[in-house]
Amino acid sequence: MRRESIAPREGWQARVEALGFGFHTIDGQAYWREDTCYVFDEAAVDTLEAATAELHGLCLEAVDRIVRAGRYADLGLDDRAAQLIERSWFDRDPALYGRMDLSFDGHAPPKLLEYNADTPTSLFEASVVQWYWLEDVAPEADQFNSIHEKLIERWRAVGGGPRVHFAACYDNPEDATTCDYLLDTCTQAGHAVEALDIESIGWSGKAFIDLADRPIDRLFKLYPWEWLMSEAFAQHIPASGTRWIEPPWKMLLSNKAILPILWEYFPRHPNLLPASLRREDVDGPVVAKPYWGREGEGIVVLAPGDQGHAMPFQVYQALAPLPVFEGRHALVGSWVIGDEPAGIGIREDDDRITRNTSCFVPHLFR
């Protein structure tokens, strides 16, 4: 795994915009960078793929154990959430996608930092934008990326009914692009679709309805479960009959409190890091993470001996430093579509914590 400086394509902004990628630059700062790329060898990609499949398997087993043991309080979840999770798990509600954030230097086993299993973003740039970049820049090379076709294939199992509704905060360009891209893949799988803003969802008294007052049978929502559960319509979810994508059981995996539970169930697993709800259980430097933080929100690195500030709903995970290339900390986002590893996207930053402003950099392998 190495970082290479390369010449950007002439007029790259127009090229990526033509694909529908409108947020390549955010607040005047490059989000998409193609003046550099990451290069892997095939063995490294195989390692990432195998680790992703392994970790996903561990996560599913952990969900099953948590549900059967009723350990919802360990994840800060109340009875309402527990009932939804149990029902969706035992009903085998299928999942669409997720993204694992891994610390990987190309050699040592990848380590799971967290699993964005509910509302992962940076999907479109990983699936489409970097693929077209590869076609233009290095068509003889390969890329760990079959996200697009796996999404279409997965929709054949996940979609259905009269139509699949897609809801997001459409005033956010990244969310809108992610949601519309998924809608596109759903359409290509042969399903009727309808998009609406999350705020436009209605409640008719017995069903969630769209703007044409049609019942919402299947709803893809790019909106975290913990937010849904804290809002006024949460009371209607159990009786609504709506099938949710991602399903409620994903609440267990998108929650950082899954990290200590994974370590408890699978101690010393080579792809996991020591983690606990108590600082004193983890030696050396740790990363304190809130259960429900996103995009680096609330994450603090604590030096050895630093106890930090005791906060409720916080986990402590052993620090697995991201590899640094030319001063840039690189994070591998490894995509799972259905149950299969499907590709990666690289985010990098000057800081060791990856945030929503961290750049997306394409990759290839030879």
Partner: protein, 163 residues
């Protein structure tokens, strides 16, 4: 390293599991179909994305309502045939000015409660009788069901989304 261009897709090796602890496999995640074995996308075709074709209508107000009727004939007097549905009254969250007496009612389509602020494309409106001031007399609506919009989305206004 061989050429792994799209004309010669890479075939994934069958890697042995790293750890034998992952015995559990949720049945729904393993559909009986041939798995895709390429690491690389063969072709990406985008349909609606980039064409700005994915939009959502905005009906404006968040609250909606629908008229209930004693008969399909009364409902279709106010709305077009096909816009009326026969249902059991909603148990909770709804209120009928005429009162629920059990059995079935006929309902017009949902429309914005603030329909008086002006018509919006796609909104069916309150029906002929109500719009003309016919009220509850004659063959007009006997009551209303009230629904609402906007019960989701408040967290998204103040927080970062995605992950």
């Amino acid at each position: 390293m061989s050429n792994k261009g799209k004309s010669t897709p890479v075939v994934k090796r069958n890697a042995a599991p790293l750890n034998p602890v992952t015995k559990y496999r949720h049945p729904s995640f393993y559909p009986e179909q041939e798995p895709l074995t390429r690491k690389r996308t063969v072709a990406i075709t985008l349909g609606v994305l980039g064409a700005a074709a994915v939009g959502f209508a905005t009906l404006g107000g968040k609250d909606v309502q629908r008229n209930s009727y004693n008969s399909q004939e009364d409902c279709e007097h106010d709305y077009a045939t096909g816009q009326c549905t026969r249902e059991q009254p909603v148990g909770g969250g709804g209120y009928s000015g005429g009162g629920y007496s059990g059995g079935y009612h006929y309902y017009g389509p949902w429309y914005r409660s603030d329909w008086r602020s002006g018509p919006i494309k796609g909104d069916p409106g309150p029906g002929r009788s109500y719009a003309s001031g016919g009220g509850f007399t004659g063959h007009g609506p006997t009551g209303f069901d009230f629904g609402s919009r906007g019960g989701f989305g408040s967290s998204g206004r103040v927080s970062a989304r995605g992950g």
